[in-house]
């Protein structure tokens, strides 16, 4: 996959994941690795029983014949194929479908309740931008955590404590946002103050967000 791989331009390279990174874990790991590369890449995810997902990272779009509601929870295999992209020529018919929901869904499922392997213990994360997840039926717990990460650096455990949700849900959220490529990372931010939400006048259980949520039964 790297520029020094020896593969000729335009050659497709298939990534064979080790067994412990099979399925969505392998796909997520490959996506994360490719996002660090300074050149455009097209990925094709061959999802066992669910066709091929073509991802053009340069154009922030993908093609797939299925709806995200068909998203397999545990595919037997996901084979990842890559080829060099072209920043001027899309590899799919534009506009395609926006990438955020797909990458978020992959990241949410990839590693169960554990942190993604590239996330460093003790590092804190914050959003670079708000994710666009309209295609997914995310809950208001996730919206609240997204808002927290939009305004402060936090570990997944700090996020869970502040949002008053299970740590596993916070880890999945951080995984999902990381695979979507929209997290900043730092080793030097101070610990998130879990009580700050209450002092700000909008505690999780009684602010306007909570009251509207209760009213709408969500």
């Amino acid at each position: 996959m790297s520029p020094d791989s020896g593969a000729a331009v335009g050659t497709r390279v298939t990534v064979d994941a080790p067994p412990e990174l099979a399925g969505w874990a392998g796909a997520a790991t490959a996506i994360h690795a490719i996002q660090q590369m300074p050149m455009p890449v097209t990925l094709r995810l061959h999802v066992d029983g669910h066709g091929v997902i073509t991802i053009d990272l340069a154009f922030n779009a993908y093609e797939w014949s299925r709806s995200l509601s068909d998203f397999s929870l545990t595919p037997d295999s996901v084979r990842v194929e890559t080829e060099p992209g072209n920043p001027d020529t899309p590899s799919i018919d534009l506009p395609g479908r926006p990438l955020d929901p797909l990458l978020y869904a992959i990241g949410w499922r990839a590693f169960g309740d554990e942190p993604a392997p590239w996330l460093v213990d003790g590092h804190r994360y914050r959003l670079r931008r708000w994710p666009s997840l309209s295609e997914l039926a995310i809950g208001l717990d996730e919206v609240r955590m997204i808002a927290m990460l939009g305004n402060a650096f936090a570990t997944a455990d700090e996020l869970a404590a502040a949002a008053q949700i299970p740590p596993s849900d916070a880890r999945r959220l951080v995984n999902a946002l990381s695979v979507a490529g929209i997290l900043r990372r730092t080793a030097t931010a101070p610990a998130l103050d879990a009580e700050a939400g209450s002092r700000g006048g909008a505690p999780a259980s009684t602010g306007l967000f909570a009251r509207l949520r209760k009213k709408w039964g969500r």
């Binding site: 955020d100 919206v143 949520r213």
Partner: protein, 184 residues
């Protein structure tokens, strides 16, 4: 207790429709002839405000004010923005220059932005698919990296879309108030 949320954006973005999707009371709207057909191909446009309400409890309301999109009514923007807790900015993707329209409104409502009180809904992305969402968010990230502004594709006729946009706005306001000064 009351909370004032403004709905702003250029003519034709769907402000009136969005308020009608959310309001629990009949929306009060006044319209007059559009004198700027070059910008918006509509026979009428809102001149005075749209008004709707969401009753949170018996004692608490969210008041929804749609402010006119034409620049010649910006005196009304100044009156309302000081009282508002937040703003939903709707921009239609088939506007002649939608990304720049977004930037202009964010400059006009800079104080609200600073308080985390803005969420942006991009409408009519099914009518014209470009610019894509990252065209908007890239500008925000580049010009205001200190701000977190929800940017979502929405259909103003869809109550679920508008509830999600409103809740994203409120969550962001609350978190900005709690954590906004606490980051590296």
């Amino acid at each position: 207790m009351e909370h004032i949320i403004l709905f702003a954006g250029p003519m034709g973005a769907g402000k009136t429709t969005a308020i009608r999707s959310l309001s629990e009371t009949p929306v009060i709207s006044t319209e007059a002839a559009n004198t700027d057909l070059a910008t918006a191909d509509k026979a009428t446009t809102t001149v005075a405000m749209d008004y709707g309400e969401i009753g949170v409890t018996d004692e608490e309301k969210v008041r929804l004010y749609g402010i006119p999109g034409q620049r010649r009514f910006d005196f009304m923007w100044r009156i309302l923005r000081d009282r508002a807790e937040g703003m939903v900015l709707l921009v239609h993707n088939d506007h002649p220059d939608p990304v720049n329209a977004m930037r202009e409104y964010l400059i006009e409502f800079a104080d609200l932005c600073q308080r985390g009180g803005v969420a942006i809904g991009i409408t009519r992305m099914d009518v014209r698919p470009g610019p894509i969402l990252t065209d908007y968010t890239d500008v925000l990230e580049r010009e205001r990296p200190d701000l977190m502004v929800p940017v979502l594709p929405v259909d103003p006729r869809d109550r679920g879309n508008m509830e999600m946009l409103l809740m994203s706005l409120i969550a962001n306001i609350e978190m900005r108030g709690s954590y906004g000064r606490v980051f590296a």
